[in-house]
């Protein structure tokens, strides 16, 4: 049952991702992406990463996608009387110059990734089995617990955590700098 659900959601997520690339209307793109994120959150849940699933929904769906929608509306990019002409997509997009190369590259990446995954499965499992013997300090916790996560986040990974807090502070400054209209005496 859970397995069938996984394959269903996986297929839906691929379709949604394709929608991000193929839809013409920016609003549709955002909604596709949103749907893809929900699919991914479901997969996280199925795989036992409850905390990540929650974060995925809160941060991506709740914050990032709203930001995208907000900007699209702010810049008046949704189809409407005064909106700019929409980009040609679908078959037209693939017939555009350079797209042949694009498809080749994307396909190459896909084949590369898939074949590496398939070819690597045995080795990877072996490597994972060999892990404790190598004495590497693999960090573990009981399934579904966010205690372990917190412990590591504020223990071993405290330093990156502090760095990311600096990053967020810098981002706040940066966005203000970018989005603020220049003052009249400079224009």
């Amino acid at each position: 049952m859970a397995n069938a659900l996984f394959y269903l959601v996986a297929a839906l997520s691929v379709i949604a991702a394709a929608g991000v690339v193929l839809f013409r209307n920016p609003i549709s793109n955002v909604l596709s992406l949103l749907f893809a994120f929900f699919c991914l959150a479901t997969i996280y849940l199925l795989a036992g990463f409850q905390f990540l699933a929650a974060t995925q929904i809160l941060v991506y769906a709740g914050a990032i996608m709203v930001l995208f929608l907000f900007v699209i509306m702010l810049l008046n990019l949704a189809p409407g009387p005064n909106a700019p002409e929409l980009e040609r997509v679908g078959l037209a997009m693939f017939l555009r110059r350079k797209s042949g190369v694009t498809i080749v590259i994307a396909a190459a990446l896909l084949i590369l990734g898939t074949s590496a995954v398939l070819g690597t499965h045995d080795t990877a499992v072996q490597a994972a089995e060999a892990m404790p013997k190598k004495g590497l300090d693999a960090i573990t916790a009981t399934p579904g617990s966010s205690e372990g996560l917190a412990g590591e986040m504020f223990g071993r990974y405290l330093l990156p955590f502090e760095a990311i807090s600096m990053l967020l502070l810098a981002t706040a400054v940066a966005v203000v700098v970018l989005a603020k209209r220049s003052r009249p005496e400079n224009s």
Partner: protein, 706 residues
Amino acid sequence: MNLTDQTWLWAIPALPLAGSALCGILHYLTIKARMPKRAHGAHGHDDHGHDAHGHGHAAHADHAASDHGAGDHAHGGDHGHGHAKVEPGLSAFAPWIAVLAMAGAFALAIKGFLGLQGETHALESPAWDWIDTGTFRIDLAIVLDRLSSVMTLVITGVGTLIHIYAAGYMKGDKHYAKFFAYLNLFVFAMLMLVLSSNLLGLFVGWEGVGLCSYFLIGFWYEKGWPAEAGQKAFVMNRIGDASFLIGSFLLVKLFGTLDLSDIVAGVSGLLGDPEKKYELLLAGLFLFGGACGKSAQLPLFTWLPDAMAGPTPVSALIHAATMVTAGIYLTVRLNPVYAASPDLLFFIGAVGAVTALIAGSTALVQRDIKRVLAYSTVSQLGYMFLGLGTGAWAAAIFHLVTHAFFKALLFLGAGSVIHGMHEEQDMHKMGGLKKHMPATYFTFLAGAAALSGLPLLSGYFSKDEILAHTFAHGGAYRILWGIGIATAAMTAFYTWRMVALTFFGKERFDPHHVHPHESPSVMTVPLMVLAVLSVFGGLLGLPPVLGSTHALEHWLEPVTAAGNALLAEHGTHALDHGTEWMLLGLGAVIALVFMGLGIRAYVGGTARDEKVASSAPGLARFLQGAWGIDAAYTAYVVRPMQLLFFVVAIVIDQFTIDGMVNGAGAVARTCGDRVRRMTSGNIATYGLWMGAAAALIAFLFLKRIG
């Protein structure tokens, strides 16, 4: 025997370096004094010292924020004074400093020379562990041996004279002090080149002289073309330098050391291994490539005639007496490397002979007096390489020394003429100058006689020694000898053509506008000293057939012994006395005959040149352009490279990016446009490039792991 711990040797290069620094400071002070108040360079303590309010051009918005603007108005007016005649100010002291530094270095060089007598073969300063990190160590020492002693005496001796001359020649130039700073810096670099104990120090000097040459050729950059000529010279030199660097890397790989004496001593030990012998040949070839760049040999000689854009003392010092001989010095310094391979030696001799012929014939038709001398220099350097090609190390150095004397003299004499003729360099607009500038005339005659190889003068002995060695080698060398003899004839002809056009015959300039005058004694005294040296310089290397020992050859014996020992394995070449007398006689006859022909053809004026130009225009053009070498560069190097660039750009463009849209019509666009389309400004295109490249790298990656 080597005397070590001679710390004072460091003073030889250090003196010109200090002189350079002092002259640089003087230049700074002069410029600062000359600048309008509060100009750039006069570091004030305010942030707004340089606002342009008072200077008349549009003020920027940012300057409007200045609250110091009012203070600037007082100084706005003192701009725009002419550039023609400039008060020397403090820079008047520069030549004194520079000449003193040179004279000091010369005195020390003599001290070293005197210390090298008897069994003492070299003086060494203590080694300075200049960089030492444990993984990386470079020791630097100054070594004055028999060879570098000769070079140092020439560099500092002739250099001092040229510095004195320049004090007069450059008077009134607005960058008087800067000139001497560069000149002294050049001497420092040149001394590092000949005195350093290892390849790295030599390379610093090697590149350093190129840099100073660039500065000095472009010294009058405001004219435009000197800056261009300087760039050309520098870049062509750099081609040679690249070759030099690769050659020295090969040497380091072979010998595991940068130390020159170790390399020289180690050559004979390598010859048993054919692979190492081959690498040695390769190293020698690359180093010779470097020598070709610095010493203006085929195919890298075209920069030297253009380098005449520099002030004449520069031409005399750098492009005749010292820098261009660096290639000769390098070859003699590493003589066993070359002696190990007879084929390489023959190649060097052939390059030298062909260069001598091409340059000599080109000099026949030049109208610019400095270009005649420039091509003559290339030609004479060719002789030196011909000498090296026969393994006659001492003969090449001998010619180097005498050439330094008479060519410096000729350049300085030409400078004196140009100075007296108000910057006129075209010989067709001269004539009859002998009565206007007698001192220049007589000294110039001495130099011309030495260059053309008139009997018993310095050039006669040194050139004939090279030719005799070439003749003695027999075989294919006889062809080179024939080329050498032909070049000797040309040399005599163009030298006396130059003398006749300049000093003999009628005056072809407008006497109302041009008033030729003799140069001041600060310029003529160095000429006289050099004239004496040019006449008697041959005494250094009188041939044994005249009943004397070859003093220079004997002197250089410790340096050349290793190479000579290797050469001796291939057999010795000696001439019997009869042949030697015959060759000496032949040289004398050719010089005299072609001197006579040259004078006879041109004493009456320029008619002969016009006749050649009208009867054989193709030949005249061919010779004028140095056998079309420069044109050949454009046709066979620059154009094909442009074409290649063009084709690559089109291929990439058509087949990956815009090909489907643009079609073949785009081919018509220019090369630059094609290249630019690769950076079209469109991020999507960039992404594609990155993706394609990443795929390529992935391929590489996966190929490695199978």
